[in-house]
Every structure is written in structure tokens, then in C-alpha cells.
Amino acid sequence: MANRRSPAPTAEQSAERRARQRWMSVLAKADFADLDALWNNLPSKPAWTVVRAPEVGMVMTRGRAGGTGQRFNLGEVTVTRCAVQLEYGAIGFGYVMGRNRRHAELAAAVDAMLQTPSRRDALERAIIAPLTLRLEESRQKRSRKAAATKVEFFTMVRGS
């Protein structure tokens, strides 16, 4: 859907974009306490300046009639956004549902750091991989609890 908004990206840009979409999603969905703890364990953190101070606002969510049809406005969600710039130039954005300013700022800082090739692998290992695992574990747990409530219906066949 992004393609209609901007010119078609090259294969390299697409891969880079997909990578960024993935880590930004993980950073946004992560539990703040998990992100904060992993952040605090990082051995070295660059300095940054806040380009846009954490700001709380809303995004309107939409549904589609029948799940697939005409769009309609369902209601808004609270969102906090923030933009930071690292001392060596990279700009990172944080867009995080809810009103936790620190969460948005850390998400922006990690987004900026991940755009720095020399830092990426270490950061993926230190922050993104463990957060992804936690999210997947929690999703799996909810899913397994739901699966335990699966109904097995029997239709009674009369006679033979």
C-alpha cells in the first residue's frame, strides 16, 4: 500500500524498508519494561538530540464493512511520537501506541542506531531479537489458551 504514496523503490531500498518496518513494529509493540531493561543493559549508547520532543496524539483507525468492503472510521488510538538525531547524523522515529513518552524516545533512538550499519548486528542481537521472542512467546501463549477451547461438534446420525 505504501507504493501508491511514493515512487517505486529499488530492490535494495525495498529490503531496507522491510527491515525497518520489522524493527519499528517490534519496538512499538514491545512491552516498555522489556525494552527499558534491554536498553539499560546496552554497553554503549550514543548521544542524541531530540529533533521532535515526545508528543502524544491520536491516529484514527478504520475498519471495512464486512471485513473487506467500504472503509469506515472506527475510532482513534492514542499514539506517542518522537524523533531523535544521533551525533553522527542518523535520524530515528518512534511511533508507539499509548502515552509512554520514554517508550517513544527509546524506540526512536534504537531506530536511529539500527540505521547505522556498524551497529546493526549487535543491536539486533541485544534488543530486537529478544523483544521479538518475547512478543512471539506471549502471542503463542494466548493462542494456545484459545486452542484449548476449540469445540469438537458431533452430529448424531440416527439409524444405520
Binding site: 509493540k29 475498519g63 471495512r64 464486512g66 473487506t68 475510532g75 482513534e76 484459545a146
Partner: protein, 370 residues
């Protein structure tokens, strides 16, 4: 006519102090925390978010606490708060087919792909008060299956759609405007987008009563609960500065697809028709009622006679908002002394004209606006 009155400042201040004290209740009882409300009154939180039109469980919990559990008052508080926030933009439509499903039932297909998942439901409880809860110290443990829910759970409507037995729901053009009642005044006739937004934030009781009325014959459209599903979907948003969509979090939603009796025409063979309900959180009764009313409001589209209240879009939509309804009903409590004085003068004049003796005001009770 409404004429402002002055005075009563001290009384109002003291009333608010009394309200705060009564909200707190007996100080020997521990104070409720927002986390307790969010976790243990979660369906109240979901209703307040849905009708307050703002997904934020913490804020909904605060509103419920402040409103002493009066959910319509809490919805009002949340609506008022949302007007203080800027809107960063509009998200991509949520994809309910990609939902991480925690509950999914169908009253039309026994063995549908992906199966029926009861999830957490009151449906099969006995509705007997559980005195073990009164004792406290509850530590329930849910069963955990060895495997999760099968991925890829098609909508029931897709199964019917495959056979052409149900009307297709085709997307509108991506650049077509979508009516937003928080920015525009309602217009009648309204389009489906305007109706669905109105119903999504409409009062649950109002929709429940209207939905029930359709089942009792006032605009009956023979519904089946084709599918109800509850679970988490990603919220995607494309910030301008990025130029591509990113996931900014997850929300829980409830979706209801009603399958209703056929319609056909010279060009289209008979097909099932559809009603749709969607809410924030787990608001199943609301989603079902919304789907019934959505279908009833499509009477015009299917050339059905509009005879019942639930089919009358202006009647349904203009009275669905409990913040507006509550405000207008409750404004009757405010001083109307001058209006009432005018009525007193009129009724005395009419009685005099009819030849009745009129004593004039009782000197012991001052007249309304004196």
C-alpha cells in the same frame, strides 16, 4: 430561551468536594488502582473505549474511576479528553482476516476451517453467583493446548462468497473520501461509512434495544450469526516523514458478521445479505446489535419497505450517541426559572380567560424567577 443564572459558587465547590469524598467511599477500604480496573473490569474498559471512540485502556480505567463506575459519564470524560489531542493521521484499515484470534464462533457452519474456539465466554456459564469470588484470593489457571490456533482463519462470509451465495463486500477506491462524524456534520441520507462509524460509537443499550426490535418483527431481516471473532489486530499507520506504513501497536477488536435472508433482482440471483459489527476490545453484545442495526439500515439499498424504527437512519443515528443524549436529557436539571416564569404567566392568563378565578401567586412561595 435559556437565561444564565449566577451564584451558588460555594455550593458548587462544596458539592464537588462531597462528590470526591463519596467517590472514594469508606477510607478504610483500599483505594482502587487503575491497573486493577484495567485488569479486572476489562469489559467496562472496553465499552468505554468503544463508545468513547478512543483506544487507551489506562485512560478508560481513569475515566471509570473518576465517574464512580458510571460508564456513560466515563465515556463523556474520554470524549472530552480526546478533543485535547492532535490527530497525527489516519491508519490503514485494520485486517480482521489476519487477526490473532482468541475466540471465534459460527452459528451457521459446524465444521468451518480453523474450527470454533469458545475463548473466554460467559455463554456457557450457569449465571449462578459465585461466592468463592466473594471470599477473594482467586488464582484461576487456564488450560494450555500443546499447539496454538491454526494460522489462517477465513471469514465465514468468504466461504459463502466462494459459492456466490452471499453479497460481496467490495472495497471502495483508496483515494475516495471517508465520512468522519468527528469532523463533519451528519447528512441524510447517510452512506454506510457514516452509519457504521455512528453505530460503532453508539450507545450499546440503544443498539441492543433496536437490534432486539428487529428480531421481534420491527424490520425483521432473518439473521444468523455467521461469525463472531475476537482477537488482536495490528494498527498500521504511514507517517508523512517516513512515506511508508509501519505498525504502531496492536488493538483488541470484536467483529460480528451477520448473514441475513436473501435478496435478488432481475440482474442478481438470490443471495444472502450482510450486516456488520466492529468494536474496540471485547464488546460482543454490542458488535452483534450493531450488525443487526447495520443490516436494518440497509433497507433502502435492498428496496425493502422502511416501516420500523430500526430502519429509519435519521431516527437511529440522531439518537445513538449517549453523550449527546445524556447531555440533552440532563440539561433539564439546569435552572429554567425564567422559561418557567413565562409558562406560569401564560397558564394563569389562559385560566383567567376561561373564566376561572385566579388568586395570583402565593405570597409564601416566591414565583419562579423572583
Amino acid at each position: 430561551m435559556y437565561v444564565a443564572v449566577k451564584g451558588g459558587d460555594q455550593a458548587i465547590e462544596n458539592s464537588q468536594k462531597l462528590l470526591a469524598e463519596e467517590r472514594r467511599g469508606d477510607p478504610r477500604v483500599p483505594e482502587l488502582t487503575l491497573a486493577q480496573i484495567r485488569e479486572q473490569m476489562s469489559l467496562a474498559v472496553d465499552r468505554v473505549m468503544t463508545e468513547g471512540s478512543l483506544y487507551d485502556p489506562e485512560l478508560a480505567a481513569l475515566a471509570i474511576k473518576q465517574a464512580r463506575g458510571d460508564l456513560v459519564e466515563a465515556i463523556f470524560l474520554l470524549r472530552a479528553y480526546r478533543t485535547t489531542l492532535p490527530r497525527f493521521g489516519i491508519g490503514e484499515p485494520i485486517d480482521t482476516a489476519a487477526m490473532a484470534v482468541r475466540r471465534r464462533i459460527s452459528a451457521t457452519y459446524k465444521d468451518l476451517p480453523g474450527g470454533q474456539l469458545l475463548g473466554a465466554s460467559f455463554d456457557y456459564t450457569h449465571r449462578l453467583l459465585d461466592f468463592a469470588l466473594a471470599a477473594g484470593d482467586e488464582r484461576p489457571v487456564a488450560e494450555i493446548a500443546p499447539e496454538g490456533v491454526e494460522p489462517g482463519m477465513p471469514h465465514v462470509a468468504d466461504i459463502l462468497n466462494h459459492e456466490g451465495l452471499i453479497e460481496a463486500e467490495e472495497p471502495d477506491a483508496d483515494d475516495a473520501p471517508v465520512f468522519d462524524l468527528t469532523r463533519e456534520s451528519p447528512r441524510y441520507p447517510a452512506d454506510r461509512a457514516a452509519r457504521l462509524q455512528n453505530l460503532a460509537r453508539g450507545d450499546e443499550g440503544w443498539l441492543l434495544g433496536l437490534g432486539y426490535s428487529t428480531q421481534r418483527g420491527y424490520g425483521n431481516n432473518h439473521p444468523f450469526a455467521g461469525e463472531i471473532r475476537v482477537g488482536e489486530v495490528a494498527v498500521e499507520f504511514a507517517p508523512e516523514e517516513l512515506g511508508f506504513p509501519i505498525e504502531i501497536g496492536e488493538i483488541t477488536v470484536t467483529e460480528c458478521q451477520m448473514v441475513n435472508q436473501f435478496k435478488g433482482s432481475a440482474n442478481v440471483p438470490p443471495q444472502f445479505t450482510r450486516g456488520y459489527g466492529l468494536t474496540f476490545g471485547h464488546c460482543e453484545r454490542k458488535a452483534m446489535a450493531m450488525a443487526l442495526v447495520d443490516r436494518a439500515l440497509r433497507a433502502d439499498e435492498f428496496a425493502e419497505p422502511i416501516e420500523a424504527p430500526a430502519q429509519d437512519e435519521e431516527f437511529v443515528m440522531a439518537h445513538s450517541d449517549n453523550v449527546e443524549a445524556s447531555g440533552f436529557v440532563q440539561h433539564l436539571k439546569l435552572p429554567h426559572y425564567v422559561d418557567f416564569q413565562a409558562e406560569l404567566v401564560t397558564v394563569r392568563a389562559l385560566r383567567r380567560k376561561a373564566g376561572l378565578a385566579v388568586d395570583g401567586p402565593d405570597s409564601a412561595v416566591p414565583d419562579a424567577a423572583e
